[in-house]
Symmetry: C2
């Protein structure tokens, strides 16, 4: 149940040249990461969506407020606990408490399980954790059912001078946000004296995907030098279009032109690498999340011809926010299938460590589509031996090499978010 049903089915593409190179350079890569984490504080946590087209492997989205901890293989919770332990041991050995601020919705069972799991991980690391909610609906200590057997309690937040506490008097030196602040900067969190992770300005009210991918460009260029590859193999072209108003066709022509520019850049890379796939781009709300505000097109012309329904879908995202900025991102096909359904890996990290992940699988989507949509399901990665390189084999298990490359690209994505977070401080 928690294992990939059939690894050969899950990974039906040929071994990437990139994977061979990563394995050959494993010592340099691990050493490089260690030196990077020595000078760049890893974020508390993060998750990254990868796309593997067999000729390239790239992050397409980096989540600084990861949900879905309930979807990772529960066998690997100890990895998360160990990461939290290390993080605290290194940066704040005196920390004993964390105030966890989740998303406001309290009826999304999957999300509640995520909060529960995160709370569990923190508690296992010996961190006393209390959940404080920003939701106006939480006006008193509220017991929330996660399963028939399991409950958790959400407390209202109160502010006393420059400290946030919960109404039951819980006062922590560290506040962990699992709320992406899509609908604005909550006044209660401004100018507080406690450590807020990630920082307030990393919230989606402020964060832009293009800021993140600008940092990822820097990371890729550095890393590509280490293993001597074309950075395009691990990166996707992108551009930004601003001042858009989909409802009134404002800015659409410029967007269409930019789409064509990216398409042409992809075309020449495809030609250079003898790739016969059709180039496409993904247009996404620059501050979007939850898989909303996303559109896949193969030309600028398609943008000019989109119908009202598609426009409406692009115009508004989570919490009713209007879309004015978009990122135009090179589309990366996913050629991974599980049970013949299109899938993409999502990798979770805490501190500098990969702690697990899952395949996002969608029975009704195609290889060039966004899979973060209603109807997706999740198959936990057997991060374990399989997540490790098999240059030499562990005597007791086989170790497909693919997962090592996933862990490398995921950590590059994490490093970029570490760079990005510095820009918000």
């Amino acid at each position: 149940m928690h294992k990939i049903p059939n690894l050969k089915t899950a990974l039906n593409v040929p071994l990437l040249e990139l994977e061979k190179i990563c394995l050959q350079h494993q010592h340099e890569i691990e050493h490089w990461f260690r030196s990077k984490w020595h000078t760049n504080k890893p974020p508390f946590y993060g998750s990254v969506d990868l796309r593997n087209s067999s000729y390239k492997l790239t992050p397409v989205d980096m989540n600084l407020f990861p949900g879905g901890f309930n979807n990772i293989n529960p066998d690997f919770i100890p990895l998360a606990v160990q990461a939290v332990n290390n993080l605290i041991e290194r940066y704040c050995p005196n920390a004993t408490k964390v105030l966890l601020i989740p998303e406001n919705h309290t009826r999304n069972l999957a999300y509640l399980k995520n909060v529960y799991t995160l709370n569990f991980i923190l508690e296992q690391a010996g961190i006393k954790t209390v959940i404080g909610s920003l939701s106006e609906e939480i006006t008193e200590a509220t017991t929330i059912n996660v399963t028939d057997e399991l409950t958790m309690t959400y407390y209202p937040l109160i502010r006393e001078n420059n400290r946030i506490k919960t109404t039951n008097g819980f006062d922590a030196c560290t506040i962990l946000l699992n709320n992406d602040l899509s609908n604005g900067k909550p006044a209660i969190l401004e100018n507080i004296e406690q450590i807020l992770l990630p920082p307030l300005n990393a919230g989606w009210y402020m964060r832009k995907k293009t800021n993140y991918f600008t940092q990822y460009d820097i990371v890729c260029d550095e890393f590509a030098n280490v293993i001597n590859i074309d950075p395009w193999l691990i990166n996707a072209y992108f551009d930004i279009a601003t001042d858009l108003d989909f409802a009134n066709n404002q800015g659409i022509e410029i967007l269409a032109q930019k789409v064509d520019t990216i398409i042409n850049k992809i075309k020449s890379k495809y030609a250079e690498n003898n790739i016969t796939d059709t180039p496409y781009v993904v247009v996404k709300a620059n501050n979007g999340t939850y898989g909303m505000g996303i559109m896949t097109v193969k030309s600028g012309d398609e943008i000019l011809k989109i119908n009202r329904k598609s426009k409406n879908k692009m115009a508004v995202i989570k919490d009713g926010q209007t879309v004015h900025d978009v990122i135009i991102q090179e589309g990366v096909y996913t050629f991974e299938k599980i049970n013949n359904q299109v899938s993409e890996p999502v990798i979770y990290m805490m501190d500098s460590a990969v702690i697990g992940g899952f395949y996002r699988v969608h029975p009704k989507k195609d290889v060039n589509e966004n899979l973060n949509a209603m109807g997706a399901h999740f198959i936990p990665l057997t991060y374990a031996c399989e997540a490790l390189p098999g240059k030499t084999k562990h005597p007791e298990c086989c170790a497909p090499n693919r997962f090592y490359t996933y862990s490398v690209i995921a950590r590059l994505a994490l490093l970029a978010s570490s760079y990005e977070i510095k820009t918000y401080l």
Copy 2:
């Protein structure tokens, strides 16, 4: 196969009072460990044998040169890799290579698998690892078969000034000993400029169990204050007898007296705690390993009456060393059974983290006997959710609380070895 067949069978004793206390104090305990590791460098690795009599849980042996990495659940190799990564990131971020020195015997397949697994773990952390052997039989690069498919190469060691290298020119800044140096301090390792882990004087030619347990006493007294328990619940009485010659009955009477003293101390503790078991002690070679030189007795009188065969067994241990010193250690019953066979947990640690373990199970031994003997087999611990406290339950798994207490006592044992190693520097 890698799971405990039936957890309820494995853990057939009632939940210890101690376990409840550990769970109640989990936040304080984890915080205490973090502060301890902040000021005391954990050893590179170690394994500890625990005995659980339901009324007490104590370490009875701490191995600074752990074999048996092949017996831990391969699913948890990532925990070991993460621990190695953290260790290096913290203490020597520039380290890229390790020279691994194994035991000399090259025909013990189980031990070879251990070396292979250890090498694998280091390689996964991006540490270039070469195996250099102290054995006189290794006079050139020698390929060793671990399984039909897997091989590894042992290289002879050479010394150039104050550096040890292998004959293929491998020069590492760190040397990891997996050879317990039972038969003396190898001249080639004396006064080298490289970092040697553990230090040379931690070898069994010099190390004494009583030195270790003296440090463990200190750790226990400190920790018992933190959670307000009688340290006896997590510690076993011990004493030392020296200048022994079993063959010539020298020192045997004093040994017998000391046995009675310990037995009497146990008796009064048993009375105090309403325990009806019969007290016993285990007499072990003070520098012994591999389960050799061990004897279980219920009175000093038994010592005086042991037959020639038992004397001979006590007189000589690994690599033909004669026994002159013994530790007289309070015997701790093990009331854990797997498939109705007597078993005891062995816990593995790297850096400050528990990375796995197994049950040592012996079909022919009794609850008061040493299980580290021919005929033992190993069932990997499902360290995972089950290894974590279930004060709150993870939604996807049940989490017996027992393993948390194991991890606490194992880490106390590790901390004591950290104290001990300081005495060898």
